[in-house]
Symmetry: C2
Subunit: 476 residues, 2 copies
């Protein structure tokens, strides 16, 4: 064996070190030359492509179309919406020179595209017949962050941003809610990440939004991750960018808008939710390789085992599975087992001379590490079924973890103990004031992650005033 297997730090011992090491060892991403920039390597990108395909199909099924808008936004455009400037100004990268010439106006590399898309929309939208506009864009964006970590917080990242325009206030509200639902379905069904959904408090809203709907995931270390948000922008942007239309009664009125986004940050969430001491654990639906065949050969059996492994590979691939067969001759089967567990491949198929004799193979699950002997004949069918079981089990496990780590706090003392010692989500009444929210944040580093759709009444733990439940956590 030419390479020593680097030992992965235990997740429980040092989650932060574990995360960075895993990203590198599984070849998901690599550091770029500019601070906070990364290359997403083929294995990481293949995960993103599967997530994209899943989400894109959901967008199209709900009537959205993709488009592409310019990367560079003139400074004057950004300044049209006051809250956008204030929020993003500290994080902007500016192009000041083009083709050897100093530009008359600085151009920001888009941190998000409301400001430029609204300019187009003010031309495209003229009549109620032009509505609704249901457009999405897959692209790169840039935010000059001070502290970065691959996938979770990077200067440049990939995402999609939906931008819609509607005639009525109820429609933009409904659209923002609908897209939260689309995200939620993708998290549950594809990523096996049981996010909580709700509304953001005013301080955590998107700049310029009337309301922000959020999906919040609970990571393995008990911290929350804001995984995707959708915003009802109301008429704030249409007023700033003059997006008006003639309604059926021939009155010129301002349009109502939404925007919503989901980024490569989610890959960080996947790692943190499902990963363990052995490495990644990928839900089958977004695993670039659903199952890997590892032939186990010794001396003279090699030729036959190799042939059988290749035949089995073709058979399983033809049944519609994303398969790999590891025919590498440098490494031992044990080395390969570790490697594919590190990469999070949901199922390993072991095939040795004895298995071939018996007309079987061994299936080993990544999630539970359970083994089963399966007859070669029904292999494809069993593997499809097993992958569905793994998908379901991973969601169930994550839900169990989430529920076990969602606690009600009856007093502020209890609240602080939970946040300090156990972390996770804490459910507690909040009086709706910025004062209570800020005090809790300053004293515990916990923020309001969301206000549930169904809120219970109770007394605010800090102020003692009447309030309604909010869900708190320390967040990434």
């Amino acid at each position: 064996m030419s390479e020593a297997v680097e030992k992965l730090t235990k997740k429980s011992e040092d989650p932060s070190k574990w995360y960075l090491q895993l990203v590198r060892m599984a070849k998901l991403a690599d550091y770029g030359p500019v601070r906070g920039t990364f290359a997403i390597r083929p294995y990481g990108y293949a995960i993103w492509e599967l997530i994209q395909a899943d989400l894109d199909a959901r967008f199209k099924a709900t009537g959205h179309h993709n488009a592409y808008f310019p990367l560079l936004i003139p400074e004057s455009y950004l300044k049209k919406e006051a809250e956008i400037v204030e929020a993003f100004d500290p994080e902007l990268a500016w192009v000041t020179v083009g083709g050897h010439e100093e530009l008359e106006e600085r151009l920001a590399v888009r941190p998000t595209s409301e400001s430029i898309i609204c300019e187009f929309y003010s031309n495209w939208v003229q009549s109620y017949r032009d509505l609704p506009v249901l457009i999405n864009q897959w692209c790169n964006v840039m935010r000059w962050e001070k502290v970065t970590r691959p996938f979770l917080r990077t200067a440049e990242f990939l995402w999609q941003e939906g931008h819609t325009v509607h005639a009525m206030a109820e429609e933009s509200h409904e659209e923002a809610l609908k897209m939260q639902g689309v995200y939620r379905d993708c998290f549950y069904e594809a990523l096996a990440v049981p996010v909580l959904t709700g509304v953001k408090s005013a301080s955590e809203r998107f700049p310029g939004a009337l309301e922000t709907f959020t999906c919040e995931g609970l990571m393995g270390d008990g911290r929350a991750l804001q995984a995707a948000t959708s915003h009802d922008l109301g008429q704030n942007f249409s007023r700033a960018f003059d997006i008006t239309f003639l309604d059926e009664a021939q009155n010129r009125v301002y349009a109502h808008q939404t925007s919503w986004g989901f980024s490569t940050r989610v890959i960080g969430g996947l790692i943190l939710v499902h990963g363990d001491d052995r490495g990644l654990k990928l839900p089958p639906k977004i695993a670039p390789t659903e199952a890997v065949i590892v032939p186990i050969w010794r001396g003279q059996s090699k030729g036959e085992v190799r042939r059988e492994a290749e035949a089995l590979y073709s058979e399983l691939k033809d049944s519609g599975l994303r398969m790999e067969v590891d025919l590498d001759e440098e490494h031992s089967p044990g080395w390969k087992f570790n490697e594919h567990e590190l990469r999070g491949v949901p199922v390993r198929v072991e095939l040795g001379p004895r298995d071939i004799e018996k007309g079987q193979a061994v299936l080993v699950r990544r999630d539970t590490r359970e083994k089963e002997f399966v007859e070669r004949k029904g292999m494809a069918q069993r593997l499809h079924q097993l992958l569905a079981e793994i998908q379901e089990h991973m969601l169930a496990q994550a839900m169990q973890f989430r529920d076990a780590n969602t606690r009600h706090a009856g007093t502020y003392k209890e609240f602080k103990e939970i946040i300090e010692e156990k972390r996770g989500f804490v459910v507690a009444p909040w009086d709706g004031t910025g004062e209570a929210e800020t005090r809790i944040k300053e004293e515990t580093k916990a923020t309001i992650r969301l206000l549930p759709f169904d809120r219970q009444e109770g007394k605010d733990l800090v102020s003692g005033k009447p309030g309604k439940t909010a869900i708190f956590a320390r967040a990434y």
Copy 2:
């Protein structure tokens, strides 16, 4: 009718005006605020998505994987390869400020990514076992062009760039050729654009390449368009960026590389090759809508025709076709016919009360405008077949046009006459010198588009020296 139909300029009268007007009227793209930037509107982007899907499948079938590399390239990286700097320096956009701070080193918005990808590769490639590296990236790039035109030449555009690393010189040569073949297949089979393939002369090579392979299309106005290129970079970049590996004999040697690209420029090519006085004409394989149903109702028949049109729509859609049904009540059928012809929808399905009575519908081809009456029963099958016929016929037509506009020149006088009066491709011997090439370019504005793979001997028209055939044209 609330809107007047804007009249499209005739292609033959003013091809340039026709092009710009068509891009706007068919809602393919719209001008951005920064010179040379554009939004690709949903209809234009849907074409791009279908092209992408076709090409991406071909890349994956030939063993390539997608990845993503940073947008911003430090100036010092670009300077490592002298020819790259020289070629792209005048066209770069520079980020000089990030997060309120002046940057120590300027960062270029990528014009192409060799310089940054090679830095990653110099880490990723260590042993012959790491080879080949077969990576592709779909992304945006920026070139600060002086004169721009939507799709054909824009400051920002979308493209894919493949970047591969190989152990041996023959392998990078073969890879570059193979990818030219992949592009060629996509042009012929999906876009119905019969490109000519060959090798670039030294002056038209990609900066730093040993050899550039090209696909050149002939546009409707007789000018050529460089549609996609692939480059054998040899060891030029591996030496500049120190990409070495230990070969099987344990010697540290420089790797061999390729790069290859295909961009949204091709959408401009599609418009110019297939468009006519009535508007766009899309090959079915990349048409966002393969067929549109236009119901023809009068007074009391409306309800029934509408129901039947919707039923037919569902039926055809379920058979796997990309369908639209135009139920708009504002416009007349005639207005709709024009509109969908302008948008280049390959087939129109007309359905009126008489058709319903007879259990039929009328299929009208966009390419030949031929009508046929088809029984409702076998409609889906006939439509699938008709679309295949249209795809084939559009390629045949474009080949006929290309061949009719590919002429051999026996003298320089004849060469000049063809270029001036007829344009198209001109086949003539070239002595291989820069002098002859430059003189022809200066005197006729024609450039060597490619050197065919199978070249005939003959005397150079300018120098009279022995030479081999080259293919010349005025180019976009």
